[in-house]
Each structure stands twice: as structure tokens, then as C-alpha cells.
Amino acid sequence: MSEGVMQADQPPVIEAAPAGDLFAKFDGLIAMREGLLKAGQEDPFSLVMEQVLSPTRAICNGRETILLGTYNYMGMTFDPDVIAAGKQALADFGTGTTGSRVLNGTYQGHRECEDALREFYGMDHAMVFSTGYQANLGIISTIAGKGDYIILDIDSHASIWDGCALGNAEVVPFRHNDIDAMEKRLKRIPEGAGKLVILEGVYSMLGDIAPLKEMVAVAKKHGAMVLVDEAHSMGFIGENGRGVAEDAGVMDDVDFIIGTFSKSVGTVGGFCVSNHPKFEIMRLVCRPYVFTASLPPSVVATASASIRKLMAGAEKRAHLWKNSRRLHGGLKALGFELGTGEAQSAIVAVIMPDLEKGAAMWQALLHEGLYVNLARPPATPANMTLLRCSLCAEHSDEEVETILGMFERAGKTVGII
């Protein structure tokens, strides 16, 4: 570490960290980012939306831009009924609760929001957290304790991994969507130990779904409880939009469903629904639920209004699927390499040859007037660089064609197709 200080008179590529600087560990990442920006690249991780015109349009860096990377699947963010519910709650209940759910932070609106969730999922219990991240963090770390085993997919979301890290259970990952690998691990768990299998309905990086019918059956055969994160499926997968577990016909065998308000519901917040008879005790023992302020009244009011509208969203759902299939088919026909063979969700992941090309393609699309997510290692499976597109039910047929034209021009400019 002191080496950097002694060489201070040499021209360093990045400022050498002084001895004892805890930020020294980030030097590699800082150098990578500076390298990208020096090459004339717009910073993919500092985009500002100056104005938001609709669920599918915004002014980004001064340009009118089609949004294709928001997870705003059902386009509820500007729904007039939802906005009206939020305004009313803001006027009636104020800007915030200033308190924990278990103290002064449970308002009528929080109860109504949990009622809406119970109805939406047809489950006995619902618990609303301040974010989806906290829902995973709280439920996982609380229910799987010392001596218990968590068996989870290696491509699980960061909030699931952090939930494992916060708790004291033994953590055993298996290869992505590999039913045999999962079963082998379940078989080897010591007799009598508690078992929690954690799966996701849709994996957000590649937009692929889990074979829940088979996996949930295997988990149950080995006496495990099952938690499924349905963040990326709520509102449009399954007959009632309850997610991949509903579509696979295994709702009754799933012990806990985790979800979020920040995708299809169109606001922020997280939740867990369950039929476990003792579920309500979670409210007293789950630290990420207890030791934080509850959601503002306007947020839970917009969430309730949105969830109730999603129950009757069959037409929007059908249009979202049409959009996803058209984009997937169109990009494939243009010669792009995609994360899945067919459209399995509302996420279409375009695989880039490397980070440089991916960043260049991201910028070329932005100049065309299209925003997608750039996903890079280490957040991605197999260290891939991905351009992640997530469709919205409010994208028109014409917009999807416009998007395909943008991809074609940008892809040719960058030399990917």
C-alpha cells in the first residue's frame, strides 16, 4: 500500500491511494470506468431523466427517448386512477409516517394495501416492506436460522444473496435452473435439518423462467419449504397475473412469494404473501421490517389502486406479450444473439460480444433515442455483457417497430450485426 505513496511523483493513471485508504480496493473499478469514459463513452450509470413524459417516453440527456429498460411492465406509473389515489392519500394522511410498521407507521392505507395483495394472490397473509430488497433480506434471514440449509439457484438476485448473508443458515447454491443439481444437494442435507429452497419465477438478467413445476415438486418431495421471488412476473404471467408459480400450477405448494411494487405495480415497496398459519409472527421478529420507517401513505395508496387494477388487466397483459414476442422475433431475425430461444417473459436480453462493444452499442441506441439497461459483470451470469430490454404494455405496435429500426442501425454502426 505504501508503494503508491512513494511513487507519487510519477504520473499515475489514477490517483494513488494513500496508505490506509479504505477506498484502495475500488481502484480497479475506477480505472475501468475512467477508461470507458475517456474513449468518449457516455456514462451508462449516470443517466438522468430530465422529464418523464409517459411510462414509455422521457427526455434523457436532452433527447426525447423511448424507454425500453424500466421494468414498468404494465405501464401503471401514469394511470389516472392510481395518481388520484396517491394525491388523495397525500392530502389526507400527509407526506410520511415517520415510523416503523410496528410502532406508529401502520396507517389505514398499509392495511388496505395488504388486503389488496391477499386478494390478488388468494393467500391468507400479506406483509408489506419498504422495498423489495428488504422483503428478501428480511424473510430469508429470519426464517432460515443457524443449522438450517438454504438451497438456491446460483443466478439469484443480489437481494436474495444478501438475505442469505444476513442470516446464519448454511448456504448451498446449485447451477442455474438445474433440477438434478438441486435434488442432489437436497438429498445430502443432514437428517432433521430445516430446508428452504429459493427460486425466482423470472430471472431478470436473461429473462428466462424457472421450471417451477418440476423444481417445486422436487423440493416438496424432500420436505423443504419453498420461497419464490416473482418480482418480474407479477401482473402478466399466469391466469390472474400471480406469476410463474401460478402458470406452472404450483401455487399451493409455494410457501412464500416475494414481490415488489417497483415493477408492474409502478411505485416502490416490497412484500411477502403466504398461507403459513403462523406467518403474522414475522412482523415482530423480522428486523428489516421492524427497524425501518414504513412506506409513505401516498405510496401504499398508489400500490393498492394499481394492484386492484392489475387484477382486471387481461387486455394489457395480452398486449405486453404481443410486444415481447414481436421484439424478440424481430431482434433474432436481425441477427442479434438473445438470452432465450423464445420470449419467456417481458425481458429480452441481447448478448454483447464484450463490454466495450456493449457500451458502444448502448450509446448508439441512446443517440437513436432508445434507452435500454446495460448489464455488465459481475452482476451478469457467466460474465456476459447484456443489453437488457424490458417491454411495457403501453408500448404501441408502431413503437416496437421503431425500436427494431433503431437496433438495426445501431447494430450495423457498432459492427455487431
Partner: protein, 82 residues
């Protein structure tokens, strides 16, 4: 099974993952010397788990940095079984 036998069987499993053909001793580090990334670790651990019909949880993996520590850990788990 003695430690030498455990060592032999782990060495056999390690071979396809040792891409650069590094000479492996007890103090060889998986991260530093063999340059294992997280995906390689998962595949290698799965191979060892299958070979010995054991579980090496991530909590246990966190304590294992070198080849020798792995052989010791697996050997201990096998002894528990026997």
C-alpha cells in the same frame, strides 16, 4: 479412506479445472494460483460434492483458501461419515 486417498481423488477432480497445468501443492491457493472465479468455484465444488457425496456449503467454502485445506475438510467430512 486415508488422507492420501482423499488427496488422490480430489486431484483427479481438479485436473480439468487446472487450465494452466499449475503444479498443485497443499499451499496452492484456488483464487490466487489457480485463478478460480465464482463460476469455476461452483462447478469445481459440485464435482467434489458428487465425487464424495457430501455438501460443502458456502459458509464452509469461505474457510477454504488452499488445496491442502480442501483435502483436510473433505477428509474430515468423510471420517464423520464412516
Amino acid at each position: 479412506m486415508d488422507r492420501a486417498e482423499t488427496d488422490r481423488r480430489i486431484r483427479e477432480q481438479l485436473e480439468p479445472f487446472n487450465k494452466k497445468g499449475i503444479a498443485v501443492a497443499d499451499d496452492t491457493s484456488f483464487a490466487r494460483d489457480l485463478e478460480f472465479d465464482s463460476l469455476t468455484v461452483m462447478d469445481f465444488v459440485a464435482a467434489i460434492e458428487d465425487e464424495f457425496d457430501i455438501i460443502i456449503s458456502m459458509n464452509q467454502q469461505a474457510e477454504i483458501e488452499t488445496y491442502g485445506q480442501l483435502v483436510d475438510a473433505v477428509h474430515a467430512m468423510r471420517k464423520d461419515d464412516a
